[in-house]
Symmetry: C2
Subunit: 404 residues, 2 copies
């Protein structure tokens, strides 16, 4: 019998307890031993909930109990999750987490401690909810060198953009509906500004390339400036707008960004709608592979945490982390990366196209139904720095969105 | 240094040699030791090919060499692959294969021998080419009880159906084009009659449910009877026609089938086109997860075989197969399963609908452009046996296709 403690009885933590109970038998068969939740840590009380009997308020009780071999950290936020995780690892307990802020900020250190202590620090649930993407990269795509990872990594923004696309609504209304339906938090900043996706693509890139990518190096733009009009133009081009997290490794240089992007039907991410997430991985032998599923939610995310618990339970006293490549990756400054841009400007092509061509060379123009006072154009590949300079010299720019 | 032998220097075998060479360093880092191909077995000679130096024609040379710890079987077909694999396992060598015929027919026995000898029999590449679906089910979705697996498992038929959908062509023309482009074999029977997908869904179901599903129990229908007209009707309903492999576990009963099916845009498989494959898995905690990628091709499939080699190399002397559930699964006779049907009949609704309703109760009728002499209707859920009886009593039936 392997004893577990769950830190935080919120959405994911309570889900983890439920997964471990519901699938007790099949999990025991896979591990070869039963798993049992001995403690749940939370500041709150849960009168009437069966969890009451194993609820503790003081982390020391868990820490000092040598029976607890695996700690599930589903508290969220950096503090006190960081201290709690570190203390658990130092005490020789494995830690499985859904906490992307903590993994993005202190994952390297925590993995190092786990290695020294011959235990594991696992974080499948930190990216893509229930999608088993980290294990896929670490354990399955082992014959490949992965050189690109991209994805739709945030369910809230994908829900909002899907609503805007299907209903023609503006961002504010779609956000309000997402909040009403429980798909966006009251303070939605981390989602809509792209911060959540930023941490996730940094984590995924680190796993993919076997070398740390710092989330503070990832250029990040949210979806708050996307208008219904932009989506109409996208539709006129046969494309949709998604919040795309993207990273590519080219030699020892990595470029990474989170931005809204226009993507077409040839891209497997095109059809990923609502709160679903998907991660597209490119391997040098495999080509493209996509992993799709529920990007959030109590049970899918808990399923991923518990899969980590199973892996820890199957490997007692053995650190199973994939060794790093030892390479130092250079992060390409965002201004030096290249993109194609869709630009929406006021006026009409007859009056303005000469001036635009003088700046950007040949461009494709785009018209959309119900838009008489503006039009769009698409540039060729252009360096971010150069684009920023040129666009500053253009009047009446209503929006610009990168095109995949 | 871990020595490997590759049996069969065809598409996948030569790909495996290439993957092992190209990604030698990253693979060695993951394994903690270098992998090296010591022998390639093939009846043919390859004058001028670097493989010449390690080419052997007699399997005994490989079998008797104790240095060879892992055998890659990429010969295809049941004989002599079955004997060769069995002998290798009995000699204490792990075997990794892309051979779905062999796995579907003798996989249970070969896995049993591997277990007795503390080696491994692995077959990631037998289903879905480079898509890491077997490892996902065995190693990643370990917190879930999987109760449904479906997918587009055959690239040839998906290419043909995609062509027919995009170009309005008839089956024979699309097949000829697939053959011309190297996406269909000269004798395409195994693909177009669904036999290939049948073996794959039997293997995937066995892994998903932890209990053997015999491929001869899987009802199988190919795509040769699909007409351009059927696809026009599907489009009129906002759907596409795919060759769908499907299996569901309900208690101890499993239903499984391979048939053409109409699927709509809400299904993640809807957007899987050309030679791509995808597998949709439903877990009781996770919900739906989809795995998408190249379903065939030399390097993607070889990438999957080599990922198995890596797993074997990391676990010397240790059988890592997931223990079975010990359940005996009852296969539901196909006649007792239920489906909804799209039926295309000659005539027009005004004349025929009363008779159809007398047989099937309320139905939806479907019209499509450019079809004046026939029309379609969609039944409610109906048992296969009952449907077969009723449809036998209806004149002018042009086709019937299941609707998901």
């Amino acid at each position: 019998m392997i004893k577990i403690a769950v830190l935080g009885y919120g959405t994911v933590g309570s889900g983890a307890v439920k997964v471990l109970q519901t699938n007790r038998e099949s999990i025991a068969r896979r591990v070869g031993e039963e798993l049992c939740v001995k403690y749940v840590l939370d500041l709150r009380d849960f009168p009437g909930d069966p969890v009451e009997e194993i609820l503790v308020h003081d982390y020391k009780e868990i820490l000092k109990d040598p029976e607890v071999r695996i700690v599930v950290e589903t508290m969220g936020g950096v503090n006190p999750a960081y201290d709690f995780s570190k203390l658990a690892l130092q005490a020789g307990k494995s830690v499985c987490t859904s906490n992307k802020e903590l993994v993005a900020q202190h994952g390297v250190e925590l993995m190092q401690i786990a290695k020294e202590k011959n235990v594991n620090y696992m974080f499948e649930a930190s990216c893509g909810g229930g999608i088993p993407i980290i294990r896929a990269m670490n354990e399955a795509l082992t014959a490949d060198v992965i050189d690109e990872v991209s994805g739709i990594l945030n369910g809230t923004t994908n829900y909002i953009l899907t609503k805007m696309t299907l209903e023609g609504s503006e961002f504010g209304d779609a956000l309000a509906e997402a909040q009403k339906n429980g798909y966006a938090e009251r303070n939605p900043e981390a989602d809509i500004e792209g911060y959540d996706a930023c941490r996730k693509i940094a984590i995924l890139s680190s796993v993919a390339y076997g070398s740390h990518v710092d989330f503070t190096d990832v250029y990040t733009e949210g979806i708050t400036k996307i208008k219904a009009a932009d989506i109409r133009y996208a539709a006129a081009m046969g494309k949709v707008i998604k919040l795309l997290a993207f990273s590519r490794k080219d030699g020892n240089a990595v470029s990474a960004r989170v931005t809204p992007a226009l993507i077409g039907p040839d891209d497997p991410l095109y059809a990923v709608n609502d709160v679903f997430n998907a991660v597209l991985v490119h391997g040098n032998m495999l080509g493209d592979a996509m992993f799709y599923g529920s990007g959030a939610g109590s049970l899918p995310t808990a399923s991923a945490v518990v899969a980590d618990v199973v892996a820890c339970a199957k490997n007692p006293g053995r650190n199973v982390a994939v060794p790093g490549t030892g390479e130092t990756l250079e992060i390409v400054p965002f201004e030096e990366t290249e993109s194609r841009f869709f630009v929406r400007v006021s006026g009409n092509p007859a009056e303005r196209l000469d001036g635009i061509k003088a700046l950007f060379g040949e461009v494709e123009t785009v018209a959309a139904d119900g838009t008489e006072d503006d039009f769009g154009f698409v540039t060729g590949l252009i360096e971010e720095r150069v684009f920023a300079e040129k666009i500053a010299g253009l009047d009446g720019v209503l929006n610009r969105i990168r095109v995949m």
